[in-house]
C-alpha cells in the first residue's frame, strides 16, 4: 500500500524546501537594495511555473513527473529524460548538502572535516526517509513550526537591538528595472521557485489530489513573501553594499544583534536552525530521485534506493567542486543556465504544450 501524506505535511515540507538554503544566501544580491524586488519578481515567475506544473498534473492526475513524461513524449525520449531528471535531483541534493557543509565548516565548526558534517547530516536524512513519506511528513510537522519559532524569535531580537533602519532600502529602482530583472532571472526564478518541479514526484501521494494547485500556489506565495520580508530586513540592517559582499548576509545581521549585552552572537543558533531547512531540501531531493529511479527501474519500493542515493550524495557533494568559491561560481553561472532553465522551465513547458495538444486532439 502506498503511503499518503496530508496537505499540511506536504505544505510544511515544501515550505522548508523553499526557505531552507535560500534564506541564508543573499538572494538577488546583484540588484543591491532592490534585491527584495528581485525576489518578488522571481515569485511571480514562480507562480507561472507552478501553474505549468499543476496544469500538467491536472492533465495526468495521480502521475508523478517521471510517470507522465513517457506518456506525453513516448518511451524513447521519455526514459532518457527521466534518467536525466533523476540525476538532476541527485546532483541538486549534493549541491545543497555541500551548501550546508560549507556553511557549517565556514562558521561554527571550522576544524571539523566536511565529510563528517555532511555524512552525519545525510545519515539522519536517510534514517528519516527510510521510514517512508509518512515519517518525513510528520517530521516536517514537528520541525517546521520550530524553525519558524526560532526565526521569529531571532527577528524580534534583531528588531529590538536598534540596528534596524528601513531607510536603507531606498532609493528603489536606483539602477533601473533591467538590473532587477537580471537579478531575478534566471537565478531567483529557478532557485528556489523553479526547483519545485521536484514536488511533481510527491503530489500523487497527497490525500486529496484536487488540492494540488492550491497547495503549490500557497507555497510559492508564502515562501516568496517570507523571503521578501527577510530580504527587506537584511537590507535594512546591513545596507545594500554588504549584501553582495557577504556570503551569508543573514548571519552578518544576526551577529550584529545584541539585546542588553546578554543575548548576543546568536548566529550559531540560527545556523543550527537553518540545518532544519536543509534537512527538508536534501531529503526531498533524495526522496524524489528515489521515487523517479524506482519507477524507471520498475522497483516496488523507493525506500531501498534512499540508502543508496544517500551514499552517493555524500561523496558527490565533496567532489562537485574543489573549493567553496568554485562551488558558488558553478551555482551562480552554470547550473541555472544549463540545468535549471531547461529542466525547470523549457521541458515542463514543452510537455504542457504537447499534452494540451494531445488532449484536444483526443477529444475531437
Amino acid at each position: 500500500m502506498q503511503q499518503k501524506i496530508g496537505f499540511i505535511q506536504l505544505f510544511y515540507i515544501m515550505l522548508g524546501f523553499e526557505i531552507g538554503s535560500t534564506v541564508i544566501f543573499g538572494l538577488g544580491a546583484e540588484a543591491k537594495q532592490d534585491a527584495w524586488l528581485a525576489i518578488l519578481a522571481g515569485m511571480f515567475c514562480g507562480l507561472v511555473l507552478m501553474w505549468v506544473y499543476t496544469k500538467l498534473f491536472e492533465h495526468y492526475p495521480g502521475h508523478t513527473l517521471t510517470q507522465m513524461i513517457p506518456k506525453i513524449v513516448g518511451r524513447y525520449i521519455g526514459y532518457p529524460l527521466n534518467a536525466i531528471y533523476v540525476l538532476y535531483f541527485i546532483y541538486l541534493a549534493s549541491r545543497v548538502a555541500r551548501d550546508f557543509g560549507e556553511l557549517v565548516a565556514g562558521t561554527i565548526l571550522p576544524k571539523t572535516p566536511m565529510l563528517v558534517v555532511i555524512g552525519g547530516f545525510i545519515a539522519v536524512i536517510v534514517y528519516c526517509l527510510s521510514g517512508g513519506i509518512e515519517v518525513f511528513g510528520r517530521t516536517g510537522e514537528i520541525l517546521l513550526p520550530f524553525l519558524f519559532l526560532i526565526a521569529i524569535a531571532s527577528w524580534i531580537i534583531v528588531y529590538s537591538s536598534q540596528i534596524f533602519d528601513i531607510a536603507r532600502i531606498t532609493p528603489i529602482f536606483e539602477t533601473g528595472i533591467g538590473t532587477v530583472w537580471r537579478a531575478a532571472f534566471p537565478i531567483v526564478v529557478t532557485f528556489p521557485f523553479g526547483e519545485m518541479v521536484l514536488f511533481m514526484m510527491f503530489w500523487p501521494m497527497l490525500h486529496d489530489l484536487r488540492k494540488v494547485k492550491k497547495l503549490g500556489m500557497m507555497v510559492v506565495l508564502v515562501s516568496g513573501i517570507l523571503l521578501t520580508v527577510n530580504m527587506i530586513n537584511v537590507i535594512s540592517v546591513i545596507g545594500p553594499k554588504w549584501i553582495s559582499d557577504r556570503t551569508y548576509p543573514l548571519l552578518t545581521v544576526v551577529k550584529l544583534a545584541s539585546v542588553g549585552n546578554f543575548i548576543e552572537r546568536i548566529d550559531a543558533v540560527v545556523i543550527i536552525t537553518m540545518i532544519i531547512g536543509g534537512f527538508f531540501k536534501v531529503g526531498s531531493f533524495i526522496y524524489g530521485a528515489a521515487i523517479g529511479a524506482a519507477e524507471l527501474f520498475k522497483l516496488v519500493s523507493a525506500r531501498s534506493l534512499v540508502v543508496l542515493f544517500g551514499a552517493i550524495v555524500v561523496p558527490l557533494s565533496l567532489i562537485i567542486a574543489t573549493s567553496f568559491m568554485e562551488h558558488v561560481e558553478i551555482g551562480l553561472k552554470k547550473v541555472p543556465l544549463f540545468l535549471h532553465v531547461p529542466l525547470q522551465i523549457i521541458i515542463p513547458f514543452i510537455l504542457l504544450v504537447i499534452s494540451a495538444i494531445r488532449k484536444r486532439y483526443r477529444r475531437t
Binding site: 565548526l109 547530516f121 521510514g131
Partner: protein
C-alpha cells in the same frame, strides 16, 4: 549460520501435562491416583478422604493457605458428614442443595481440577461420579488497598491497585458503574497461568483496537508472566525503542480516565501496575493531577514540565557543546566566570560531564535499591560527593554541578517513570554528539530522536499525535489542559468512536436573573 532460527513453539508438554487433558473417570481411586502422581512431592496439597452421609466415599483436594479453611469446615465438611435420610438419586444434585456456598463449579477434566486447586478452590471428587465439584472458597493473604507509591499526587484519590486481580477489577468497577465497562479474561503463561484482563468501555473503544489487543495477547506463548512488563514488551509495536509505547499505572483513577477516553486497560494478576494502550508521547507528559487542579495552573505546570523535559535531555550536552565549540555564544562576563571555575579542572568538559552524569545515575540507582534504613546515608554521601567536595577538590567545576543538579531535578519531574528512563538514556549519546560536533551534533541528535518518535506507533496510533499528524481539536489537552467545561469531545485515537463527552459549552454559572 546467519539463517534465522526457525520459530519454535514452546514445547514443555511433559507426561503430566498429557494426563491433564484426560477426563475424570468414574472410579474415584483412579482419579486419586492420577492427581496424587501429579502432586507428587507437594507437601502443601491436602487430600482429605471422607464418607458422605456415611455412605459415599469422597475426597476433598485443596492447597493449604489458598482456601478458606473455616468456611470449609463450617459449610462443607459439616453438611457433608451429616447423615442423609432416604435414598438420593444423584449425590451431585444433593450436594448442590446442601452446601451453603455461593460459587460452585463442575469440573470434568484433570486440567479443570488442577486449575481450580491452584487458584484455591477446593475440589470435591465423588466415587462413581464423572464430574467433581469445585468450591469457590479461595482465600489467600493479600495486600490491602494502599496509596500508590510510584505516582504520588497532592490532590486526587489515594487508592492504588494491588497484586490481586479481583481487587483491581473491583476498583475499576467502582469508578465506572456502567455495564458498558467490559472485562475479558484470559490466561497467559504455561507455568504461571497468569490472569490477564482486558478492560474497555464498549462504544468508546474502537472494536478493531480491542481485537488487535486481544490478538496480540493471544499470540503470546511464554512460560511465565510475573509482571505487566513482560506483557508490555511482548505486545508493543517497536520493542527496540527506548520510549515506552504503553503506559503503566498504579492508579485506578488514571486507568478509569483512560478507559473513558476510549483506551484499553490491561490488568495483570500479581502486579499493581496496569497497562494502558494506545498512548502517545504527550500522554506520558500528563499527570492525573493535571485534571484535578485548576485548568490555568495545570496548563502552566504542563508547560513547565515540557520545558524541563527538554532540559533534562539536552542541558548537559548543551553545556559540553557550548564550552567546547561555541564559547562566543556565552555573554562575556558569564564566560569569564565559567572559564575561571573550569581553570583548575583537569578534564575536558566532555569527560567532566560524563563523570558527573554517571555518578549521579549511580547515586540515584543506589537510592532506589538501598534498604530504607540506610537511604539517608546515601543521600548525605551523594550530596557531598557530587556537590561541595568534588568542586573544592578541583575535580569538577561548579557550573557542571549546577547543570547536573538541574538535569536531575528535571528528570524527576516526569510524571511517568518509564519516560524519564528513556530521557536519561538518550542524554548520553547527545553528550557524545555535542563533544564531537558541537551544536550541530546536538541538532542532528534531536532530529534523529524526533524522526524516531515519528516512526513509532502505539497500536496503530502515531506516537506524536496530535502534533504530527496534526489534529487541531485535540490540542486542547496537549500543551494546555482546557477547563472541563471546554472538553466537549473525546480524543480521537483510532477508528470510530463516540465523539461527545459532554453537552457543549455548558457552564454552571449564575443565571442572568441572579446577577
Amino acid at each position: 549460520m546467519f539463517r534465522r532460527k526457525r520459530f519454535k513453539k514452546l514445547d514443555n508438554l511433559n507426561t503430566q501435562q498429557v494426563l491433564k487433558q484426560q477426563v475424570l473417570s468414574s472410579d474415584l481411586n483412579d482419579n486419586l491416583q492420577v492427581l496424587r502422581s501429579m502432586y507428587q512431592d507437594c507437601f502443601d496439597v491436602v487430600f482429605r478422604t471422607l464418607l458422605m452421609g456415611g455412605k459415599t466415599k469422597a475426597v476433598l483436594v485443596y492447597i493449604e493457605g489458598l482456601s478458606n479453611i473455616e468456611e470449609l469446615n463450617d459449610h462443607v465438611l459439616g453438611s457433608l458428614m451429616e447423615e442423609t435420610e432416604g435414598e438420593i438419586d444423584s449425590p451431585q444434585s444433593a450436594l448442590r442443595e446442601k452446601m451453603t456456598i455461593s460459587k460452585l463449579n463442575e469440573v470434568k477434566t484433570f486440567a479443570d481440577c488442577i486449575e481450580n486447586i491452584s487458584i484455591g478452590n477446593p475440589v470435591l471428587l465423588l466415587d462413581e461420579a464423572e464430574t467433581g465439584l469445585a468450591l469457590g472458597l479461595g482465600k489467600w493473604e493479600k495486600r490491602s488497598v494502599e496509596e500508590p507509591t510510584a505516582e504520588s499526587l497532592v490532590r486526587g484519590p489515594r487508592e492504588g491497585f494491588v497484586e490481586t486481580m479481583g481487587v483491581n477489577t473491583s476498583l475499576l468497577r467502582r469508578k465506572i458503574k456502567s455495564p458498558d465497562l467490559k472485562m475479558k479474561s484470559m490466561k497467559i503463561g504455561s507455568y504461571t497461568s497468569t490472569d490477564i484482563v482486558i478492560a474497555y468501555v464498549e462504544g468508546l473503544a474502537d472494536q478493531s483496537l480491542i481485537k488487535e489487543v486481544e490478538n496480540r495477547l493471544k499470540r503470546i506463548d511464554i512460560d511465565s508472566v510475573l509482571e505487566s512488563g513482560y506483557i508490555e514488551e511482548l505486545i508493543e509495536d517497536s520493542p527496540r525503542s527506548p520510549f515506552p509505547q504503553l503506559i503503566n499505572t498504579e492508579r485506578p483513577d488514571t486507568a478509569a480516565a483512560n478507559l473513558l477516553e476510549g483506551r484499553v486497560v490491561i490488568l495483570v494478576d500479581g502486579t499493581p501496575f496496569a497497562l494502558i494502550a494506545p498512548i502517545g508521547f504527550f500522554s506520558l507528559l500528563q499527570s492525573p493531577e493535571d485534571y484535578y487542579q485548576r485548568a490555568l495552573v495545570s496548563s502552566s505546570i504542563r508547560l513547565l514540565r515540557m520545558l524541563f523535559m527538554g532540559l533534562s535531555l539536552v542541558l548537559p550536552a548543551l553545556y559540553v557543546g557550548v564550552t567546547t565549540y561555541h564559547q562566543e555564544m556565552v555573554p562575556t562576563s558569564l564566560l569569564i566566570s565559567v572559564a575561571a571555575s573550569r581553570e583548575s579542572v583537569p578534564f575536558p568538559a566532555f569527560v567532566e560531564a560524563l563523570l558527573m552524569e554517571i555518578t549521579f545515575e549511580a547515586l540515584r540507582e543506589a537510592g532506589v535499591r538501598l534498604p530504607k534504613q540506610i537511604g539517608a546515608a546515601v543521600s548525605i554521601v551523594g550530596a557531598l560527593v557530587i556537590g561541595e567536595a568534588a568542586v573544592s577538590a578541583g575535580l569538577v567545576s561548579a557550573p557542571m554541578v549546577i547543570v547536573v543538579a538541574i538535569t536531575g531535578i528535571s528528570s524527576f519531574m516526569m510524571p511517568h517513570y518509564t519516560q524519564g528512563l528513556a530521557l536519561r538514556l538518550l542524554r548520553f549519546p547527545l553528550i557524545f554528539l555535542a563533544a564531537t560536533l558541537g551544536l550541530l551534533g546536538i541538532m542532528l541528535g534531536i532530529i534523529t530522536i524526533i524522526v524516531h518518535l515519528c516512526t513509532l506507533r502505539s497500536f496503530g496510533l502515531p506516537y506524536l499525535t496530535p502534533i504530527a499528524p496534526l489534529q487541531g481539536r485535540e490540542l486542547k489537552d496537549t500543551f494546555f489542559r482546557a477547563p472541563w467545561w471546554m472538553m466537549n469531545t473525546r480524543p480521537h485515537l483510532t477508528g470510530k468512536f463516540d465523539t461527545y463527552r459532554k453537552a457543549s459549552w455548558k457552564k454552571t454559572s449564575p443565571s442572568k436573573e441572579e446577577k
